[in-house]
Symmetry: C2
Subunit: 223 residues, 2 copies
Amino acid sequence: MNYSVAEENYIKSVYHLQQQWERVSTNHLAEALQTQPASVTDMVKKLLNKKLVHYEPYRGVKLNSAGKKVALQIIRKHRLWEYFLVNTLGFGWDEVHDVAEQLEHVNSSKLIEQLDRFLGHPQFDPHGDPIPDKQGNITYRERLPLIQQPNGQLLEITAVGDESPALLEMLKHHGIEMGSRLRLLRSFAFDGSVEIIIGKAKPTIISQALAGCLFVKWIGYDE
Amino acid sequence: MNYSVAEENYIKSVYHLQQQWERVSTNHLAEALQTQPASVTDMVKKLLNKKLVHYEPYRGVKLNSAGKKVALQIIRKHRLWEYFLVNTLGFGWDEVHDVAEQLEHVNSSKLIEQLDRFLGHPQFDPHGDPIPDKQGNITYRERLPLIQQPNGQLLEITAVGDESPALLEMLKHHGIEMGSRLRLLRSFAFDGSVEIIIGKAKPTIISQALAGCLFVKWIGYDE
DNA sequence: ATAAATATTTAGATTTGCCTAAATTTAAAT
DNA sequence: ATTTAAATTTAGGCAAATCTAAATATTTAT
């Protein structure tokens, strides 16, 4: 099967919104796709005809297993291209989204498999999100909100919350990147900021907003 | 300015057909684009509105300088992607056309400049066709039909006439590739076949059809 | 439980890129 | 110089993906 760019974008959006809501509403989709609710209703009916979604009028939409499969392949392409743009072509990760958004719709299984091989079968994209494999399997990895972790823990950055230039600038300033290790020292009730040690540097305080964008896994208490 | 995929394909086709005919006819364009003459007339009017072509009804169409500029950038993208597919991802050059046809429409100047840098600013694509630079300048290179060259000349392959799997297979069999050196010994009146020495191998005879697909530059008479 | 507010769908249009069939223009042939 | 053939354009329509405005369903609040 081959789907139009518009169809692929709808499928991808439903997939992402489903991570948060069981049934995805028309308005949410319209918001995510920057389009009108009426247009969403139209397209959802087309996806229903193509047997990619469950849908009942007024009740929201949900990918069925065929739809999920399609979504995972689009996401695979998107994230492989992001990895390529950052690691091969030297893009910053705040610059890759729009380009990957276009590249993900290029249709060639040979292209994507050769790209995957060239890149060394990466498992995670530059933002820490997992890259589904050819079969659609995802390697999950701890992705715990930094806020809420117990003090003293040695942690490793596994993902970031958004891909804005502003966040990237902030992280660069602190010398934080994917895989960085840090220790959570304490948090302040006043403004929700937290004190951390990044690598072997001196303790620093980062804002609640910044901390809220960081996801980690546990490494242990010991140095 | 930003052009649709359909518009870009028309512009590119006009450019290529212009290499052969001063004014490009509606039927030729329709043939090249696998579409109907009436559709061509429609689109040509749109390109006229966008001031990319000269056009008079019944008289054919021709890119103006703005149109040429656009065409060269599309061709630049197409050929850079072909180079990438062959040299980085290991495609055969008979497999690249359709994929490059899609990739050439991805819109990001940063992408194409970084790709160009990553590839080392190649000047020729895998078929020997020149890659226009960012400004649209083309490095020309001798591209003489093998047939018609004087006997005894030492020649180097600079381009091939088509990109079919069949031609690639044939060339592989003879050990001919871009940059191969060969000497033309003689041609046979009977079927137009020619006898050549490829590199330091023994003389072989290749068919007129094959010879007609090869383009060369002169290196000299001496060994 | 009913009214008000919100969400969703339907109806009818628009744009892009394409089509077929008919009309028109240009080129070729007698 | 007409007639015939070929090429091109015009007219009218269609499908995909979108829109606005109006109608309908659902949810929330009184």
